[in-house]
């Protein structure tokens, strides 16, 4: 018996709205369809109406987890357009925050993976330790989520000796704990039974479907912007590119924990080798006409911002390609032939940040399932007509 189950737009496994429409036979998935557009906020359009400085805070709000990634990616591009060279100390602090953010994102993901697999103890422990790195970020920037440390031409806050000591101390604790979690994540039988061999994505498929980040690396594709195209400080740091060749969710867990350990290494190097000097240079108000592409390795994979300037103090176009969007095609493939029980795990394994990846809305008539393209003014007119004339009779029926 084949039937369709709707995972989302509201579902406990999803922290943000997205619709995964699964065709299942018994417990086996035969087809998967991903529908986006429930969380579209029109950020790219909004960016065209704000100045370069204002846009830093706007891009930071693209995502709640990798807020620093989007802001840094944008600032890198703007600095390229303005031909600015930020001081070394500023860069070190900026990418120190980047690595701390990667640590907090990966710890959060580990917890989520544990929760999706019903392993709540793992979830509670990793999230407890995530507080350490959240506190470090708060010490550095004053904020836990939107650090707002970037500015065009450097960073806004300096580090003192006390903060450096605190960071080293926190990282040492985290290192010990992460090694312990590595042992659990790769050895606890009931957890490994759930994630080994689940959500297979071969190396060829990962390349063909342009998977990015830990998903690609877990399929043996050694792809990391920090190594391939080292930006800013990454060519001075000693770290390894972490890959796994098991191509499944277990591989993605292993890659992320290994990356955690690499990040601790980088944080220590950056804190110990923090150069002296200024943290920021003065930036011009306007950028010369031109266009640029900025690449950044976010915790979830390669983040790309395309920025076009027209000589004013505002961008003419900002295009954001969030890593989650790049991983969706691979996800559909991974979901097929899986079990219902594996849906949340496979989907969570790409570490989806749904609102990052929302770039469009589809208008679907609820009763007929018909898709249409409508002008904003028409939509407004329809809404007014509906609320004025027709009293709502019963709830809209789900297209299934």
């Amino acid at each position: 018996m084949s039937f369709k189950i709707p995972i989302g737009p509201q579902h406990p496994a999803l922290k943000e709205p997205i619709s995964l429409r699964m065709t299942v036979e018994g417990e086996v998935i035969t087809d998967a369809d991903i529908r986006l557009g429930y969380n579209h906020r029109g950020i790219e359009k909004l960016a065209e109406e704000k100045t370069w400085i204002q846009n830093i805070y706007l891009t930071e709000r693209i995502c709640g987890i990798c807020s620093h990634s989007h802001a840094t990616c944008f600032v890198q591009g703007v600095e390229k357009l303005m031909e600015l060279v930020p001081p070394r100390r500023g860069l070190y602090i900026r990418y120190l925050v980047s690595e701390l953010e990667r640590v907090h994102s990966h710890l959060l993901w580990l917890g989520v993976a544990g929760h999706e697999a019903g392993f709540d103890s793992f979830f509670m422990y990793t999230w407890r330790d995530r507080e350490i790195v959240m506190d470090l970020l708060e010490i550095i920037s004053g904020n836990r989520v939107h650090y707002a440390i970037n500015t065009v031409g450097g960073v806004r806050r300096d580090l003192d000796e006390g903060q450096k000591a605190k960071i080293l101390e926190g990282v040492a604790t985290l290192k010990k704990r992460s090694e312990y979690y590595f042992g659990i994540g790769a050895n606890e039988p009931s957890f490994v039974a759930r994630i080994a061999g689940v959500g297979m994505l071969s190396k060829e498929d990962a390349i063909a479907l342009c998977a990015v980040g830990p998903v690609a690396r877990a399929s043996g594709v050694a792809r990391d912007v920090r190594k391939e195209d080292p930006y800013a400080v990454y060519d001075e740091l000693d770290f390894e590119l972490c890959t796994a060749d098991s191509c499944d969710v277990l591989g993605r867990v292993v890659v992320r924990i290994k990356e955690l350990l690499e990040s601790y290494k980088m944080i220590e190097q950056m804190v110990k080798g923090l150069p002296e000097g200024d943290i920021v240079v003065k930036a011009p108000r306007k950028a010369k006409p031109g266009e640029t592409v900025s690449r950044y390795e976010a915790p979830r994979g390669g983040n790309i911002h395309y920025i076009k300037a027209n000589g004013t103090d505002k961008p003419e176009r900002l295009k954001v390609r969030a890593p989650t969007l790049a991983n969706y095609p691979a996800t559909v493939l991974m979901l097929k032939k899986g079990f219902i029980a594996d849906i949340p795990l496979i989907f969570a394994a790409i570490d989806p940040c749904i609102c990052c990846a929302e770039r469009a809305v589809t208008l679907v008539t609820a009763r007929s399932g018909e898709e249409s393209v409508v002008r904003m003014s028409d939509l407004r007119r329809m809404a007014l007509a509906r609320s004025k004339n027709a009293p709502v009779k019963g709830n809209a029926v789900w297209p299934f």
Binding site: E27, G114, G118, F119, D120, M124, S190, F339, A341, I343
Partner: protein, 323 residues
């Protein structure tokens, strides 16, 4: 007078009032342990140490809006929670803690009560399946199918494991089995394997991690109970609490030497031994992640059942050897 005593027996002790109080206490114990294992606080505010939290939860749910889906079989949907609770409470009456008089078989302690008890403990699973099926929700239907699939996995090892001590004791009456092992405590060691098998099977019966597959939140939302709310959900939750007490009481009676010592001492033994079993169940819950339904079945038939059969064989051989 006999009528009054029966009513007291059914309604106050060890009937519905006592079972309610003790099972909510056990839920608190389980929650607190689970929370401490996870480095959390658990319930703290309601009552001392949060002791009243499960009761508060129960009454809060009782007061909530009670929705019956339009497509559901309304009569079945409404009556099932009460049936489930009634069945497990009846099973609770059969525990040998409140009928310690070996010489007098009564309607709560008779030869064969262990089988009746196992039967009564199997019924809630069917009730839950029917509840899931009658609510017609897609997630409930999947949950219901999982409930029944799992039943075929854990039921056989549970029966084999629980009945083998009975075979060694040569009685089908819980009080007599307990008395047999009280007289020969060393023989309890023979049944350790069976105890472990039964623990795992009870964990599966109670649908707790790693066997919380029928109501796996991240997969199928509320699972079997997706459509249940208000009073009905409260009764189902209470059913699971009472089932936890009864199942751990059964394990304590069969594998841990029962509850000797009369009304007061026997009751203390009951509390200590059931809490010990619940401690082990909570530990299992904290240490594992949820496994998949196919893994449950293969685990039950490839590991649990052979172990239970091994236990049964050992018991039969020992019995032949002794006699």
């Amino acid at each position: 007078m006999a009528v009054l005593r029966t009513f007291l027996y059914l309604l106050v002790y060890p009937g519905i009032v006592f079972l309610f109080a003790y099972s909510t206490f056990c839920e608190w114990f389980d929650r607190k342990l689970y929370a401490r294992f996870q480095n959390r606080m658990g319930p703290t505010h309601t009552g001392r140490f949060g002791l009243l939290q499960p009761i508060a939860d129960f009454f809060k749910l009782m007061a909530k809006e009670d929705i019956v889906p339009e497509a559901a079989d309304k009569r079945l949907f409404s009556v099932l929670p009460a049936i489930g609770l009634a069945v497990v409470s009846t099973a609770g009456l059969l525990l040998p803690v409140w009928n310690f008089d070996l010489a007098v078989p009564s309607w709560t302690s008779f030869p064969g009560d262990i089988v009746v008890m196992l039967y009564l403990l199997s019924l809630p699973t069917l009730v839950i399946f029917l509840a899931a099926w009658s609510s017609t929700n897609l997630f409930s239907t999947i949950g219901g199918a999982r409930v029944l699939t799992m039943l075929f996995g854990y039921e056989v090892p549970l029966f084999l494991a629980v009945l083998s001590p009975a075979i060694l004791a040569g009685s089908w009456r819980l009080a007599e089995i307990a008395a047999f092992y009280q007289a020969r405590p060393l023989l309890l060691l023979v049944n350790v394997l069976g105890f472990l098998v039964a623990l795992v099977a009870v964990q599966a019966k109670l649908e707790r991690t790693p066997f919380d597959i029928p109501d796996a939140e991240t997969e199928i939302v509320g699972g079997t109970f997706t459509e249940f709310s208000g009073k009905k959900l409260a009764l189902f939750r209470l059913t699971f609490d009472v089932e936890l007490v009864v199942a751990s009481g059964l394990l304590a009676a069969v594998f841990l030497g029962g509850f000797p010592g009369g009304a007061v001492l026997g009751f203390l033994q009951f509390v200590v031994k059931t809490l010990f079993v619940i401690f082990l169940l909570s530990l299992m819950r904290a240490l594992t992640g949820r496994i998949r339904i196919d893994q449950v079945i293969s685990f039950a038939w490839k590991v649990l059942t052979p172990l239970a059969v091994l236990q049964l064989l050992a018991t039969i051989l020992l019995k032949g050897f002794v006699s």
